[in-house]
Subunit: 357 residues, 2 copies
C-alpha cells in the first residue's frame, strides 16, 4: 500500500521574530547549522517512507512562492492552497480529499507539522513505520506521542492505557489540553501521559469516516471537493466551499472525540522549536556557552544566543541574552523573557508598523 | 586686557565606541538631547568671556574637516594643526605661541578640553571670570578644581592649602596622580583635594616662563614657532620643530613642578563624560529608568541606555544594559562592563579590522 504525507505549512508563528515575519514564518527559516530550513528537513526526514511525488504540502497563497522555492522537487499539483485559514481540522480534511482523489481512500497518509525538529531521524522513521503498520491494519487513528522529559505547560497531552496495546501502539484514553503546572507535574510522574506531537497516521478512509461522524458538514464539503480535484473546477469549488468550514483544530474536532486512537511513544529527540531558546537544544555552544553566528565579538560574555549578520555585533559583559539581528530590526531579549516577544509585535500592530510584522 | 581661549580638540578617545571612531572622536559627537556636539557646547560655554574670533582650536589634520564643519565661525587662522601628537604640554605651548604672535604675551589664555560637559553654565562663567582675574594679576597659573563628590580613581587630584587664599583661589600644594581607591577616599574626606578638570587660565607670558624653567628645549622651539606664525614659513617651521618635542602632559611637564599655581574650586556640574554611563547624568530617563533615542521598543525593560537609529531595536526583559547602534556596528554592553569596551577595540586591532576603529 502506498504511503503519502501531508505536510502542514500554513502556520504563521511569531515567536521567532524578528527573523520570522508574516511573510516568512518559522517553517521557512533555517535554524540549524546545516543551512536547511525546517520544512526542507521535514521532507528529508520522511523520505525513507514516502517519495517526494507522494508528499502533499498544505499552505496558502502567501507562502506558495516560498514552498516552490524551498521544495522544488515536490510536484506542483501536490501543493494545496487553503483559500482562507480554517485551522487544522479542515486543513487536514482538504489534504485527505486531494490524496483520496489521487490515490484512493485506502492510502495511508502521514500528517506532519513543517516547523518541528527531530534529532534522531532513524529512530523517527522506525517509529513512523510502526505507526503506518498500525494504521494500515484497520480503522485506527495513530498519533506519535512524545515521552515527556519535563512538566511542560505549553503542550497538549495524550493519556494512554498501558494495558491496552496493539502492535507498538497504546490505546488512547483521551486527549488533554494544555495543563496547569501542577497538573503537568502529575501527568509526567504518572507515566501514562505523552506529549501530543501533532504527527498523525491513518488511512484516508479512516479519517474521512471520523469527519463523517464528528463534523458531518465538513465531510459533505470535502466529498464535493474530492470529486473536483484535478478537474477544471478544482480551484473554484475549493474557493466556494472551504471558507464555509468552521475554524476548528483536529484535536478539538476529532481527536478528543474519537475512540479509535492509538499512540506510539517516541524517543527520537522531538523539538517543537517553540522559541529562540530552542537554539540551545539545536546548536552547539562554545566554551563560554555562547551560540553565535555572523560578525560577532564577545568580551566577558556567556550563555548568550547571538544571531548576527554582516554588521558587527559587540557583546560586552552580557549573560543569558538573545540577540537577533535582521536587516531592519534587532531583538535584544533576556532568555527568561522570550514569551514577551509577542508584546513587541502587539505594540507594532497597535502602531500600524506593519513593515516589521 | 583681551581674553583668549585654546580649545584642545586633538584627542582620540575610544570609550564611546561604536559612535566614536578614530575618525570621529568624542568631542565631535552629540551626546545631549539638544543635538549639539561637545566641542560646539564648549565654544558656547565660554562666549560670555571670549569672542569667537579670539578662540583657538588645537587639533590635527585628521580632524580639521570636522572642526571646520562644526565650528564654521572660528577664523581659519585660529585653527592650529599639530603635525604629530605630542600630548598636552607641547600642544598648549604651540597654542601659546600662536596667541603670543597674534595678541602679545600679556594676553590671558583659557585652556579647555573640548570633550567635557558642564551643567551650570552661568556658574562656570562666573568661576572662569574669577580665574581670569587672578591670572591677570600676576604670574599665576590658575586651574579650575572640581569639588569631588565621590572617591573617583580615574581623575588626577589637586591638593590645595586652605589657609593660603588669593582672591577666590587657593594656593596649590601639589598635583597628585590618579590614586588608589583607598587614597581617593582619604582625599575626598580631607576636604583639601579637588579633581583636576584640565581647565587652566594664565597669561601667555606666565606659561611661557614656566616652559622656560621646566622644559627649556620646548621653550626654545616655541619661540622659533611664534616668530614664524602668520608668515609664509609657518607651516614648514611647525612641521620641522614640533615633532622634536617630547610627548609629555602639561600636568607632568609643568603643573607638578611649578610653585605658582592657584586653584579655584568649582561647583558647576562638571562631567568629563568618561563613558557611556555619563549619558545617565546628562539625559533624563523615562519612568522605567530608560534613556533611549531612535526607533526603539521596550517591553519589561528598565535602567537601560539605548541609542538607536532608524533601524528598529526591540528590548525585551532587559536591565542595566547599554545598546548603541551605528551603521556598521552594534554595541551591547552591561552597565558594569563599560571599561571592557576597549577590549573589543583591541580585538579589532589584532584582527586588522580597521574599518571598525
Amino acid at each position: 500500500m502506498k504511503n503519502t504525507a501531508l505536510i502542514m505549512a500554513g502556520g504563521r508563528g511569531e515567536r521567532f521574530w524578528p527573523r520570522s515575519r508574516k511573510n516568512l514564518p518559522k517553517q521557512f527559516l533555517s535554524l540549524t547549522s546545516d543551512g536547511k530550513t525546517l520544512i526542507q528537513l521535514t521532507v528529508e526526514r520522511i523520505l525513507p517512507l514516502v517519495g517526494r511525488e507522494d508528499m502533499f504540502i498544505s499552505t496558502n497563497e502567501d507562502y506558495l512562492p516560498l514552498v516552490r522555492q524551498q521544495l522544488p522537487d515536490i510536484p506542483e499539483e501536490n501543493i494545496i492552497c487553503e483559500p482562507v485559514s480554517r485551522n487544522t481540522a479542515p486543513g487536514i480534511g482538504l489534504g485527505a480529499a486531494y490524496i483520496a482523489k489521487k490515490y484512493g481512500e485506502e492510502t495511508v497518509m502521514i500528517v506532519l507539522p513543517s516547523d518541528h525538529l527531530i534529532k534522531y531521524n532513524q529512530m523517527f522513521a522506525a517509529t513512523l513505520r510502526d505507526a503506518v503498520q498500525l494504521a494500515e491494519k484497520g480503522q485506527n487513528l495513530v498519533t506519535l506521542g512524545i515521552t515527556p522529559d519535563e512538566a511542560e505547560t505549553g503542550y497538549g497531552y495524550i493519556k494512554f492505557r498501558p494495558d491496552e496495546m496493539e502492535d507498538r501502539g497504546y490505546r488512547v484514553d483521551h486527549f488533554a489540553e494544555k495543563p496547569s503546572l501542577e497538573l503537568a507535574k502529575e501527568y509526567v510522574s504518572s507515566d501514562e501521559y505523552l506529549w501530543n506531537s501533532g504527527i498523525f497516521v491513518w488511512k484516508v478512509s479512516t479519517i474521512m469516516k471520523e469527519f463523517e461522524r464528528f463534523m458531518p458538514d465538513v465531510h459533505e464539503g470535502l466529498s464535493v471537493i474530492r470529486d473536483a480535484v484535478s478537474t477544471s473546477q478544482e480551484e473554484e469549488i475549493v474557493r466556494k466551499i472551504y471558507p464555509g468550514f468552521p475554524s476548528i483544530s483536529i484535536d478539538y474536532g476529532i481527536m478528543e472525540k474519537s475512540d479509535r486512537i492509538y499512540t506510539i511513544p517516541g524517543n527520537f529527540g522531538w523539538d517543537d522549536v517553540g522559541s529562540w531558546l530552542a537554539i540551545e537544544r539545536i546548536q552547539r555552544s562554545n566554551e563560554y556557552g555562547n551560540i553565535s553566528s555572523g560578525n560577532v565579538i564577545t568580551v566577558n560574555t556567556g550563555n548568550c544566543i547571538i544571531q548576527g549578520r554582516d554588521k558587527l555585533i559587540a557583546m560586552v559583559g552580557m549573560e543569558d541574552t538573545i540577540v537577533v539581528d535582521t536587516e531592519d530590526a534587532t531583538l535584544i531579549c533576556a532568555k527568561n523573557s522570550t514569551a514577551d516577544i509577542k508584546k513587541v509585535l502587539e505594540n507594532l500592530k497597535i502602531c500600524n508598523r506593519d513593515e516589521y510584522l
